[in-house]
Symmetry: C2
Amino acid sequence: MQMNMANPDDVSHALNINELKTSCAACSMHQLCLPMGLNDVDMNRLDQIIGRRRRVVRDERLYRMEDPFKNLFAIRFGHFKTYQINPSGEQQITGFQMAGELLGMDAIGADRHHCDAVALEDSEVCEIPFPRLEELFSQMPTLLRHFHRIMSQEITREQNIMLLLGNMRAEQRFAAFLVNLSSRYATRGYSSSSFQLRMSREEIGNYLGLTIESVSRLLSRFKKHGWLQVDKRELTILDPHMLKGLAAGTENCDSM
Amino acid sequence: MQMNMANPDDVSHALNINELKTSCAACSMHQLCLPMGLNDVDMNRLDQIIGRRRRVVRDERLYRMEDPFKNLFAIRFGHFKTYQINPSGEQQITGFQMAGELLGMDAIGADRHHCDAVALEDSEVCEIPFPRLEELFSQMPTLLRHFHRIMSQEITREQNIMLLLGNMRAEQRFAAFLVNLSSRYATRGYSSSSFQLRMSREEIGNYLGLTIESVSRLLSRFKKHGWLQVDKRELTILDPHMLKGLAAGTENCDSM
DNA sequence: CGCGGAATTGAAAATACTCAAAATTAGTGG
DNA sequence: CCACTAATTTTGAGTATTTTCAATTCCGCG
């Protein structure tokens, strides 16, 4: 199930090379991820405890609900979704995560995972054994501080989604979703106006509390207004100002 | 703005007496709150850093969005609501908090509060200066662990609300809300079947992403089915099993 | 006793959903 | 590389749930 990238039998030659040089210091995400703000010495100490870099292929589950909690996961590259399943079997996607983001923090409270995490594309994560991370906390206050920030930001992220689900109309939700993706890509040095949707329309709808049909209609409508262009999953934002206005609720679009 | 309970000018005599004997060890919430699981020595050390017990009268704001973050607050008694305000001025209540729960964790990430916190009734909180709490973390691993659990539980709490807002119909949301309150009162040693709603119908509706009229209709319908009794804010659950079934989505109620 | 905020109830309207069908895209094997 | 099949997406029409608007009623409080 889990591949060890150092295994010489590994089919992917490129990845072995990659393996050798991966370290927090060498990772392009280190200014966003857990090691943010650490000096070289501390970053190395953090590196020491990272279990391994684990490849997760598209649709593979990184962990599932009720699994015992052992590791946090930092996304090196790729995208994930996390979702809960309620007693009647319906799923609610609670987030889409990208490189530099941390997965598994919701498992600390009960020592078991509270949601499933699935790769939306072939991805790679760093496995961070939580008990070993806890050992570091006592020695590295900077790391602890940053960890608290990350957890707190996860709380505020979710509060923002509550705001979205609790009192925005469909078009506002969808605009907010696009604006959020856009800004996260910008943070990572990618284009804020043009990117690929890594998730299906159905996943977007589920996340936003809408049906797939509604999402499809919203896309069509936004396209017709000239606010964006979309070809399959390739999306280009043409009028970011308008989308921000919609998301903020200061603009609105009465159908057509 | 903030009352110092040790101030001899304080109008409330009873409270000064209270002040003298409050300590984590003496507090009925210490098995639920931050000091959970600490030995006496550690609990005393935690006590040392608690800034003061602060009284917050009904409708008073404990903190507001954008306030600089200085303290976490543990609720000694009373109830609070937290809410966000979006750019167009609408509020979304993100939670109702009761004794033993911690307020302010969403402020750690950006060093400013991310929501407003308002007392739903006359309440009292312990002010916990976060920088001093951080100092304790390095010396009290048990405390740190528990703090992480609390933050993680806040994340899962919010994920549960996302599930509620994203996927559930009105009656399911409302049932889930009641079941949640019920179980939290049970945890605190109060009746799980009979309690007072500390929030208005409007606040319930806002929290659940419904209008006040919908909440009112749901209450009437549940009453008519004989699942509960309600007189103003005094609520009695008559059929907890049914409500749990509704919340879980395994039961349903087609109007009437 | 009367005022005002909160809650309830009813009727009409709107938003988003469901169901259905068609179109497009992705995946698979020859 | 193409053809076939399965999956996803789009679009349309009708429906349902919840909202909005409006009118009462209830209750606390001066």
